[in-house]
Symmetry: D3
Subunit: 132 residues, 6 copies
């Protein structure tokens, strides 16, 4: 199995609902350093899982919908508790949609799955792994 | 599949038994930077795999039993060759026990598995992955 | 010259005033991974610049006043444009005050200066360096 | 499942064939920071997956065949498009051969698989995972 | 003293002249992860040393002249031994020129100096520090 | 001012004397990831501060005297409280001696100073900076 990973980041405000979150129930924020991994059993004729340039552009586009925002007010996230795990799934699902739409190029037709990891600090991160 | 990882560290002395270890058969030491990953197929009602605060506390408690010690004299490790692999399993098993005891909270009841990685330097690390 | 550095982090919401900031004028957020460096020409009788345990506690206390907050509403930051540079100075000045109050211990009496670096992402950070 | 990972690097020139690569079709270069992971369901009598010293030496030997070279002129890579994915497989397969030849020691007889990750920058990397 | 640092990278082929370089006399390559630090004793009216967005763009522009190239054939580097130290100076001097031309914005008029660090691997890097 | 840095590590046992150290008064251990920085106002005829290969070898030789040992029993460290700060000075002074002996090559004759940083974990490190 092959994989390619590209990294970018987003900077958001949000608050979390639930007593378990303690002070994180208040409006605060995070830089999420985001790693998007694309997996494939085979390489295309060019020898790649997916073009790194295109993968970088698509990840940037997905994060561009979220960054520099207060996620509590984001129309697409109404009623969503934007934990790191949930946001990892939001990003992975958006990349999956873009892949199916062909925006990742022909190579991406062979993708087996996508994993997205959001680093919320140097001591905590969360991932969501899905098939395609 | 979702996962959450928290990082902490421990600083221990120990020696390793076996010719393969060369100079590491002498009493020496290590900082182990420890990553504990909790995996789950689903999120709980709060949208988490496990509360990051609680996971951090439990990892700290497990490492607190080992850090600032000479592992050669540790009662719980008599007869154990404390390689990085073995210590990764010791930490993972202790976290699994605590999870079953409910110390990681209700969310942890749905955990599928735990992986623990011990970084012994910037150029070497070992992991142990287990189911729950 | 000797120095000791300890690392911690804070997670805040804020907005920035000024056209130069573009989309960062909107309410957003950041994880700041914070490195606090204490400098001294000499070591104390124990052989340290400052006790790492105490330095870690004081940095945590300073960041505890800021983390999990919307800095736009923070009483101590009214009228302050909370750029990464400005926040680095806020943290460094707070550590300097605590050092003068003796909270960093006797060793800290010999401190020559403090530098605080705030990493706002994997690709951008800012520092403030001051004497004591 | 246990694993051990060792890290080293190589510094190579190369060019890539295919329009998808844009400016990377020109002769350029890369530092690949290489992580080689060895996986095993069990530990040997010494408590290791593989001796870290030996794993480090074998990885160095494999990278020694590639580093400080123009891969476009490398006899073993004629007709190969040396993408990061392809090079990850080249390194993993070479380590697998060495493992089968016994160069990784007796412990390595129990290896289940090898994963090799090549970091081409702080924002992009590729992996190849194989069984043994 | 305040400072702001932004990170980017370039991927180049080159060879080094001089017996001291051993195998690096052959055509090979490197990814240079580049940190550009801008220093200033004071902040501007917006509270910044330099706009991070603009600093990022200018660093990208400077590296854009070098990346995906064989530096041995680069018109601007004829007769230059492109060691990591020398390239750090090339990048720092180019940023200094752009700063004087006003491309870093008005804030940059107060800059005291620039430091550029080129990481050639996880175990080696070089810097050049200059005044403005 | 130019500088070159190389990184290596050592793994040692030790105990610290003084109540301030709390549990670190017990025999424990550390991996110190060591960065040795060589500074020079000018480059030599080859365009370097110091040959990175030679700097790496000399750092390895210095650390080779300390690693895989219990520093409490080290003949050269009797009566020394081996804090991270003190060990940074031990390594820097040893590199300075080797530089004066010519082991770093002719280029090193122009060295202005050396800084050594010892990372004891992902959240704490200490440095010693000296002139030559």
């Amino acid at each position: 199995m092959f994989s390619v990973t590209v990294r970018d980041h987003m900077m958001v405000a949000h608050s979390l609902r639930g007593e378990v979150f303690g002070p994180a129930q208040q409006l605060h924020g995070a830089t999420f350093v985001v790693d998007a991994t694309f997996r494939s059993a085979t390489l295309d004729a060019d020898g790649v899982v997916v073009d790194i340039g295109r993968a970088t552009e698509e990840l940037r586009a997905v994060l561009g919908e979220l960054t520099y925002r207060n996620l509590d007010d984001h129309p697409a996230l109404q009623g969503v508790n934007t934990t790191t795990e949930v946001l990892a799934k939001v990003v992975a699902d958006a990349l999956a949609t873009r892949s199916r739409e062909g925006r990742l190029g022909a190579a991406a037709q062979q993708l087996a799955g996508i994993t997205v990891t959001l680093h919320e600090s140097h001591v905590a991160w969360a991932s969501y792994e899905r098939e395609l």
